[in-house]
Symmetry: C2
DNA sequence: ATATTGAATATTGGATCCAATCTGGTTTAT
DNA sequence: ATAAACCAGATTGGATCCAATATTCAATAT
């Protein structure tokens, strides 16, 4: 008798677990900019040795989420206002292309799911959840696209400014404006208007950039 | 007596040396697609232990240059024709923006250097050097741009298709056409015409993509 | 002959130990 | 008092060793 193939979900390696946990902690702002990542301390936290921690850190460095100096260790990477602006410009270039590719591939089910997430975002009351709900909505729409490298770029770019996005959402009008723009993007998707969805996505990102930069004085 | 601060050029760590060497070997095609990277073998090659090798491999994985499977190791990543096409589309989106940003920042010296490299490319006779000379020309122009994240994206994208670019250059007309287009781009830069330089860069990339895809049957 | 089992080998993932470098406070010379 | 020299702890980079898993191939059963 033959058994089903079962796929034991491949319990991730320690280095991957540490990598994901640190990445999450960084983009959610639980670890502040400039805060040093002590290998020993992290290893104890995860009940492992420093080896998988070092692998995780080197991957985070490759993603630009931490900076390391030889014999001095890694610190959470911060962004200058100029760098933040550049990341938003990159997003404003790439993400409209993703959604343009995605629109003709969106199923009824996906659009229904997106509508739910759009509503969940607009009715959210816990500021801690704003960031996740926002990202959840956008990624749902993007997931219909087959442009996986574009999505990699967008994911990484969003990672790098996730903290600023969260800050922007709790600013006055942040949630209200984002919610309105989300509905507009969603509607364009439902109407199959890829060009409009693309344009609204670009406006959404550039609006967030402008709103954010107003609050960042120095350079 | 005090010594000059001397900056011993920070003799890179072993893991960085291995990372750079492997990256170079992969993008130059010395390691073929699907070829497994044996930690032990690489460690012996560089007279180190497997620890820095593993760090190097995890960084290469993060860059998409290798794929790894748990307990099975890493293999050099290959690209399907569809993936190759997507990378070229990404380049065609990002690199025109880089050169648009770069043109108004190009000094006389930089333009002279670019002209030399353009000529060096056109008069090259060694097919082994085509790839380096091509990249050298483009990176010289791009280096005037202040968009460092855009450049990161472009660098990584070029890394991933470097082998195909080299193949395309040795194909009939490859060098001749590229050389002609390089001169066009350079001229636009010298004339300070950022829009034209941007457009020609996009055409250059899309032309390379088209020429390449004609030779890739399956998907 | 073919397919399955199982042991030997190869290879990766991780832990522990050592060496190299950094950091901070203390000492010492002027 | 100030600044250079220096010593001790902290921290990172790397080597060696062990455990977990994969792969290969011979032995066996059908």
């Amino acid at each position: 008798m033959k058994l089903k193939s079962m796929d034991i979900s491949a319990t991730a390696s320690a280095s991957t677990i540490v990598f994901n946990a640190l990445r999450k902690a960084i983009i959610e702002g639980q670890l502040e900019e400039g805060e040093p990542l002590r290998q020993d301390e992290i290893a104890r936290l995860f009940n492992t040795s420093r080896i998988p921690v070092r692998e995780a850190i080197s991957r985070l460095q490759e993603q630009g989420l931490v900076r390391t100096q030889r014999y001095k260790g890694a610190v959470v990477a911060g962004l200058s206002p100029k760098e933040t602006a550049e990341i938003f410009d990159l997003r404003a270039l790439v993400e409209p292309e993703i959604i343009r590719d995605a629109v003709p591939r969106m199923s009824k089910e996906l659009l229904a799911e997106a509508r739910e997430k759009c509503a969940a975002f607009s009715s959210a009351t816990d500021p801690m959840a704003y960031g996740d709900l926002n990202r959840d909505f956008h990624e749902t729409l993007y997931s219909a696209s087959e442009l996986k490298f574009f999505q990699e770029i967008a994911d990484n770019a969003i990672d790098r400014v996730e903290r600023q996005i969260r800050a922007q959402l709790v600013m006055s009008n942040g949630m209200e404006r984002a919610g309105r723009e989300h509905f507009g993007i969603l509607e364009a998707c439902e109407n199959g208007d890829a060009d409009l969805a693309s344009k609204l996505t670009r406006d959404h990102i550039q609006g967030a950039k402008a709103s954010l930069l107003k609050h960042l004085k120095q350079d």
